[in-house]
Subunit: 168 residues, 2 copies
DNA sequence: AGGATAAGTCAGCCTTGTTGACATTCCAAG
DNA sequence: CTTGGAATGTCAACAAGGCTGACTTATCCT
């Protein structure tokens, strides 16, 4: 409730009213549904769900990552991830290789089929995001990213930053 | 893939690269987890979940709304909503009144206890959002909202606009 | 009178989260 | 060098909250 940051005094803080913030909350809720809609639609035909999409996404982004690493990115229990991972491995979309240095670890890779599906899903999601970016313009996009980053939990922000910098 | 909008030519479109858009996708994912974290934490102690939170939120925002209306806002089936709603009604957080004009309809209201819980949840969520807004500043917030609106499905955007204008 | 609409219910299924128990492997202290 | 604890991954069972489909009840409206 304290307005310690008050950059330019009274009137400039109207964007911090409960009413404005409530709109942001509802925007976040409705937008997230759009965000997931396209990949979900594609997956509903196949035998997979959103959890499989997330796994494929991060394996693609972090080729060779371990199960444990994926776990901390996704923030689920390893039993939950395991079910999803096993389906992807059984179906030949993901390959699990025993670690060379540490044989307890499994390193995860997309197969050709896995990369194809990942591409299909991310294309769909990216198309919507690109359209939104284009409609809003570069300045809005910068603000969008700033607010989202400020909204993350500390540890997730670290994950996010690592992915951002380690980009291909 | 066509850059029909190209507002100021070549270089200005760098924000539409796959790489930039991918960062936006990941930001959206990680931020949404932060977005839901605080209410989820509060609810995990009680016997409710995120679905109950959503119902309480929209009943609060649309005091007296009908079941059908809530259904289209939430985008779930009535069986799914019914489970949640019945728990809230049985526990005395929500009151269901037979419609005066049309007796088939049930109008939903928060009881005092329901309003108290709704307030607790929305306070938690709003605190995080306010902190993010403050950290990012008013210009960023405007961009944030613009991109989110552009990301919504058409029918959800209409719902969103109606809530926005019909605000208290 | 009869079809359309609003709500509620039952039954059963799927995805994706959870906890608990367990096998394998590594590493460091005795 | 062995042994016990920590780390990694797997399996079994359960819960929340989505879904479809079929059906009932009450009410509205033509």
């Amino acid at each position: 409730m304290s307005d310690r940051s008050a950059p330019t005094g009274g009137q400039a803080l109207l964007y911090l009213t409960d009413e404005q913030i409530r709109k942001g909350i509802e925007a976040m809720y409705f937008a997230y549904r759009g965000f997931t809609a396209d990949p979900d639609r594609i997956l509903s035909d196949k035998e997979y769900g959103r959890a499989h999409h997330r796994a494929l996404h991060f394996i693609h982004r972090r080729e060779g990552t371990t199960v444990n690493n994926l776990l901390s990115l996704l923030g689920v229990t390893k039993q939950s991830l395991n079910r999803v991972l096993r389906a992807l491995i059984d179906d030949g979309l993901v390959e699990s290789r025993v670690g060379r240095a540490d044989k307890r670890e499994r390193h995860l890779y997309l197969t050709t089929a896995g990369a194809t599906l990942e591409r299909e899903l991310s294309d769909a999601q990216r198309d919507r995001m690109r359209a939104a970016y284009r409609a809003a313009g570069p300045a809005a996009v910068a603000g969008f990213r700033q607010v989202l980053e400020a909204m993350m939990d500390e540890d997730l922000r670290r994950h996010y930053q690592a992915l951002k910098d380690g980009g291909e």
